[in-house]
Symmetry: D2
C-alpha cells in the first residue's frame, strides 16, 4: 500500500483527496493535516465520513514528524504556503504532489508578478513536473515533485492541446470563457461565497487578471513553441461542482473539415483514458464526481473559428483526481486505479 499524507485535508480539494485515497485499492491515508482545524475529528468537519473515518486532524508540527512514515505527500494549501514543507519531504525521499500553484509556473518572476508572493524555492522549479498526464506522462513517471495543474487550466489545456500542438489555430486568437461551480472558491468564509450571495446569479470575475492565465499560456506556449497571450474570463455558476470551458480560436485553414479536426483529437488522446471527444455539447453533471474530461468541438463555417467545449469536475480532474492519477503514474501502477468513477444522475 502507498502511504499518503495530506496537508490541507480540510479544504474541498483535500476532502476529495481523502475520499479518493480512502476508496483507492492500493493507497491509504496516513495522516490528515489541518491548519485552523488541527485537532478536530475529521468526520466532524466532513460529515460524509462519519462511520468511515475515525481520525483527528494533525497540526503542521505533527505533520513534520510523520513525513518519514509516508510515501507520498499531497499538499492542498493556498499559494505561497508550501515553500517550507516541500524540501523537507523531498529530502526524506517522499514524493510530493502539490495541488497549489507554487511550482506550476516555471518562471519565478512571472509567478511573483501574478501571485504577489516571492518564490523562495526557485531551485525546485526545474525539478517540478507539471502534472497534466495527457501531455507529460513520461516525465510524471519519473518525477519526485509534481505541480498539479489548476482546475481552469486542466479543462482549457486539454480542450486546446491537439489544435495548438498541430498548429491549426492562430495562437494569438484564443479566447477562453470558463464557468465554474462555487466549490472552486474553497471553504473559506467570506460574504461572497454565502449561499444567498451565489444562488440565483451568475457573474464574471478576475477579468484579465485571473492567476490561471499564465499557467494556461505557459502550457500552450510549450505545445506550440511560441509565446502565447490569451483572453481568459472565469465566471461563477450557482452549482457546487464542475467547470465548463468554452474556447474560441481562428483556424488557419478555413476549409479544414470538421471531421479531420475530430480525428486529430481522437489520435491525440488515444492513450488518455480520461479524455473523450463526444458528439454532443457536454454537460458538467455528466462528469461530476469523476476524473473524466469531455470535449466537444464545432467548426463555425461562417466565421472560420473553432469552438471547443471542455468539461471536468473541478475537484476531481481539476484537482484531487488528477493528483491521484499522477500518484498512480509515479508509483508505476495503472493510471486508472481508484479513478474508475461514473457520475451519478441526477
Amino acid at each position: 500500500m502507498i502511504k499518503a499524507g495530506i496537508i490541507g485535508s480540510t479544504g474541498y480539494a483535500g476532502a476529495m483527496l481523502t475520499w479518493l485515497i480512502y476508496n483507492h485499492p492500493m493507497a491509504e491515508v496516513e495522516f490528515l493535516n489541518a491548519h485552523s482545524n488541527a485537532g478536530s475529528e475529521y468526520s466532524d468537519l466532513y460529515g460524509n465520513f462519519q462511520g468511515f473515518i475515525n481520525e483527528k486532524t494533525i497540526s503542521m508540527e505533527q505533520t513534520e514528524e510523520k513525513l518519514k512514515d509516508i510515501d507520498v505527500l499531497f499538499i492542498s494549501m493556498p499559494h505561497g504556503k508550501s515553500f517550507e514543507i516541500v524540501p523537507k519531504a523531498l529530502a526524506l525521499g517522499v514524493k510530493v504532489i502539490d495541488l497549489g500553484a507554487d511550482y506550476r509556473i516555471k518562471n519565478a518572476n512571472t509567478y511573483q508578478q501574478w501571485y504577489n508572493v516571492e518564490h523562495t524555492q526557485r531551485q525546485l522549479l526545474q525539478r517540478a513536473v507539471y502534472g497534466l498526464p495527457e501531455i507529460n506522462k513520461a516525465k510524471i513517471k519519473e518525477a519526485e515533485l509534481i505541480a498539479n495543474p489548476g482546475c481552469y487550466p486542466t479543462a482549457t489545456i486539454l480542450g486546446l492541446a491537439p489544435l495548438v500542438k498541430n498548429n491549426l489555430i492562430d495562437i494569438n486568437s484564443i479566447i477562453v470563457d470558463a464557468k465554474s461551480g462555487v466549490s472552486g472558491a474553497g471553504r473559506g468564509t467570506n460574504v461572497a461565497n454565502l449561499f444567498c450571495e451565489c444562488n440565483e446569479s451568475v457573474k464574471a470575475y478576475g477579468i484579465g487578471t485571473h492567476r490561471h492565465t499564465p499557467e494556461i499560456e505557459q502550457a500552450l506556449g510549450e505545445l506550440s513553441g511560441k509565446q502565447v497571450l490569451i483572453n481568459f474570463t472565469p465566471h461563477l455558476i450557482p452549482m457546487n461542482r464542475g467547470i465548463l470551458s468554452t474556447i474560441y480560436g481562428s483556424l488557419f485553414d478555413k476549409n479544414i473539415n470538421e471531421q479531420s479536426l475530430k480525428d486529430i483529437y481522437t489520435e491525440f488522446y488515444k492513450d488518455s483514458p480520461f479524455v473523450n471527444l463526444i458528439d454532443m455539447p457536454p454537460e458538467t453533471r455528466n462528469v461530476k464526481g469523476t476524473n473524466n474530461c469531455r470535449i466537444y468541438l464545432k467548426k463555425d463555417v461562417r466565421t472560420g473559428r473553432i469552438v471547443v467545449v471542455s468539461v471536468i469536475d473541478n475537484l476531481v480532474k481539476g484537482a484531487a483526481g488528477q493528483a491521484i492519477q499522477n500518484m498512480n503514474l509515479m508509483f508505476s501502477i495503472d493510471e486508472k486505479t481508484g479513478l474508475k468513477l461514473i457520475a451519478q444522475l441526477p
Copy 2:
C-alpha cells in the same frame, strides 16, 4: 456473475440501478428495458454512461424473450404496470425485485383504495416479501419476489422501528413530516417538475392522501401488533436527491432517559451495516449517493415527545440501493457488496 435485467431502466431509480449493477463486482446488466424510449442508446438518455455503457434499450416484447437469460429481474415501473410480467419471470425461476408499489400492501383492498387500481395478482401478495432488510432479513434471503419499499417508508420505518417494536411510544401519536428532493417525482414531463417551478420554493403535497401512508402504517402495525394510523405529510425541496423524515411521537414513559432510547436504537440496528445513529441532526448531503440511513433522536423533556430525524438518499437506500441490498441477500452474498459508498462533499 448474477445476470440482471432492468425493466424501466430509464427512470431515475432505473438509472441508479444501472449505475449500481455496473459497479457491482458480482452482478452484471443483461438488458435495459424501456417503455417510450425503447430502442434508444442508453447513453443518449443518460450521458453519464457515455463511454461506459454502449447498449440500446429494449422493448417489453424483447424483454420477455430475454427473461430466460437472467437470474434476477428488477422492475421500476409505475404502480399497476407489473402485474403481467412478474408471474412470467417467477415461472422461469427468475427472482424478482419490484421497486414499484404493487406488492407492498398485503391487503389488496387497501391497495386498491389508495392506488385506484385493481390488483390482478392477489395470489402473489403472500409470496412477496417486503424488502426492508433491517426488519425482514431472514425472509428476504428466502424470497423469490421482493416488494422493494418506497422511499418515504424506508426513511420513516427505520426511524421508528426501535420505538414501535419496543412499545415505547403511543402508536396513535405518530406524525411524520417528510421532505424530499425532486428526483422522487421521476423523470416524467409535467409543468410542476420543471426547473423554474421547483427552484426557490418549498411546498407540501398529498396531505393526508399520499400512497406511502398505508405502507408505513402496515409496517408499523406489524412491528407493534396493533392497528396504526399516522399523519404523513410529504414536502418537495429544491434539490435533486435526499429524503429527510422528521418524526414525532409521545413517549409512554416521560421520564425515560434519552441515552436509554439511544441504546435501544444501537441494539436494534447492531446487525444493520447501513443504519447509523448519530449525535448531530443529520443532513441529506452526507448520505447522498449512498445506501446509508442516518438517524438522530432527541427527547423533548418539555413535551414528553421524541423527535426522530432520519435521512436517506431516496434513489439509493430509498430505491435502487435497497434493491441491490435485497439482491445480495437473496443470492447469499455479503449484504454490503457493491454498496460501500461514501458521499462526496460538497
Copy 3:
C-alpha cells in the same frame, strides 16, 4: 413623509427594509446604520441599489446624533444589542420598531433562559407591543415600541390563531415543523452558510431548543388563556427566501366539518388584508417578495388531526414587511401602503 432610520441596515432584513422604505410613497430613509461596515457605500454592499441609493452607512455614534431627525427607528440587530439605543430613541419621541428579539418575550426570565443574555431594560417590556397586526392591531396603533415578531412565529401563529382562539384544538397537541430558506441565517460568515454547504441538502436544527419556541408559546398562550408547550422543529432549505410552517394539532371535535373550520379562518382574518386562506397547499414562491401569508388547512378524518400549512417570505412578512405594516399602523396610514406587492414568477 415619515423619516426613518435603520440600525443594522446591512443584514438581509435591513436591506429588505431599505428596499421597502425606498419604494414607500409616504416614508423615506434618513440614515442607514451599519456595524462592521460603517462608512461604506451602501450600494457597494448591496449592488441592487446601485444607481438608486447613493449614500454611506453611518456608525452608532453618528446614529445617536441623528436620532432627533427621525420619526421612526427600525432596529435590526442580533438579540441583546438593542438595550442601549431604544430608551434614547423613545426619550426623543421617536417611535421604535425592533426587528430583533429583545422585547418579544414579556417574561424577562424566560428571555434570559432562552437567549442567555441579561435583559437590562425590563421596564420597557410592558410598554412594548408584540407587532403582529392580525392579532394586535389596536395596540399597535397606540404603540411607541414595537417588538416585531420573528419569522417562524409569524407563519406559525397566523396558521394557528383561529384554532387556538376558538378553542378547537388540544393546546398541548401542537407540533410545528417549519422549513426556511437560508436568508433566515443572516449575512454573517460561517462555514455552515456557504453555498456549497447548504446547496443540495436539507437539515433540521435547533430541535427543541430554537429561540422562537417561547415566542410562539407566549402568543398561543395569550390567545387561548392557557399555558402552552409545543414541539417546534426548524429546517434549513436550499433556497434564498421563504418559510413554510406545517402545523399539526388534535381537534377536540373529530366530527367538525372542514368547511366550518375554513369559515372560522375566513372570519378571523376578514380585516387582515395580507392573510389569505387558499384551496391548494401553498408554495413559498407565490409569496416571495411580498407581505402576504397564505394558509391552507386540511382535516385528516383518519386521525382526527388538523394539518395547517402556512407560508410567508421570511424577510418580508417575517421581518421587514411586517415592520412597515406596523409603521403604517403607528402613523395612522393605510396598513397596505407600500406593501401591495405581488410575487414575480418564476
Copy 4:
C-alpha cells in the same frame, strides 16, 4: 388607461407582462389569451396572482372578438404563430408589440433560413420597428408594430452598440459567450427542462446555430454600416432568471485609454435610463425583476481586446419589461412608467 390584451399570457414572458401591466399606473389588462390552457383561471396557472387577478384565460377565437376593445396587443407566442393575428389587429388600429421573432429579421429569406418557417407577412416587415429603445427610440414612438428584441440580443447589442457605432472594434472579431437562466427555455414540458436535469450543471447549446445570431448581426450591421458575422454561444445556467453576456472584440487602437471607452458608453447611453455602465463586473441578481441593463467593460492591455460584460433579466429587459418600455414610448408616456423596479436581494 391603456387597454392591453395579451396573447400567450401563460408562458413566462406572458406572466411577466401580466405582472407589469397589473402594476402599471396607466395600463390595464383587458384579456389574457392562452392556447392549451384557454378557459383556465389565470391564478390557477400562476399562483402568485391568487387574490389579485380573478379572471379566466380566453381562446384565440374569443381574442379576435375582443381586439376591437383594446389599444395595444402584446403577443408572446412561438415564432411562426403570429402571422394571422397581427394584420387583424393592425387593421383595427390596435398597436401591436410582438415579443416573438417573426418581425425581427428584416430579410424574410434570412428569417426562413434560421427559423425554418415561411414568412407569410413580408409586407409588414418594413412597417415593423425593432423595439430596442436605446437604439430606435424615435422610430418606436411612431410605430404601429414593434418587433420586441430577443433576450440574448438585448443584452448583447446594448453591450456592443457604443463600440460598433463608433467603429472602435474590428467588426469581424466579435465573440459573444452568453449565459442564461432556465426561464429562457419557457414553460413547455420537456425532459431537458426538468429540475433534476438542469440543476447542478451547466451546458452550452445551439453552438453556431442559435436563432438569435442573425438578429444580433442585423443590429450590429445597421450600427456599423457593414456586414457582420459573429460567434454566439449560449449556455444554460441553473437559475431561474438572468442573462449575462460576455463579449470579446479586438480594438482597432490598442493604445486607446480604458476611460475613453467608458466615456463613450456614458455618452451613448446618456438618455437611456435603464442602461448603466458600472465599475465592477455585474451580477445578474442585481437586475433580477428589473428593466435594467448593467454593463462593465475592461480593456485587456495584453491582448488588445476589449471584454464587455452585460447583464439583464431575460424576462424583463429581455422580454416583457422592454415591451412595456416600448408601449410607454408608443403612447407618449414617460418611458420609465411602471418600470421603476429595483431588485430584491437576496
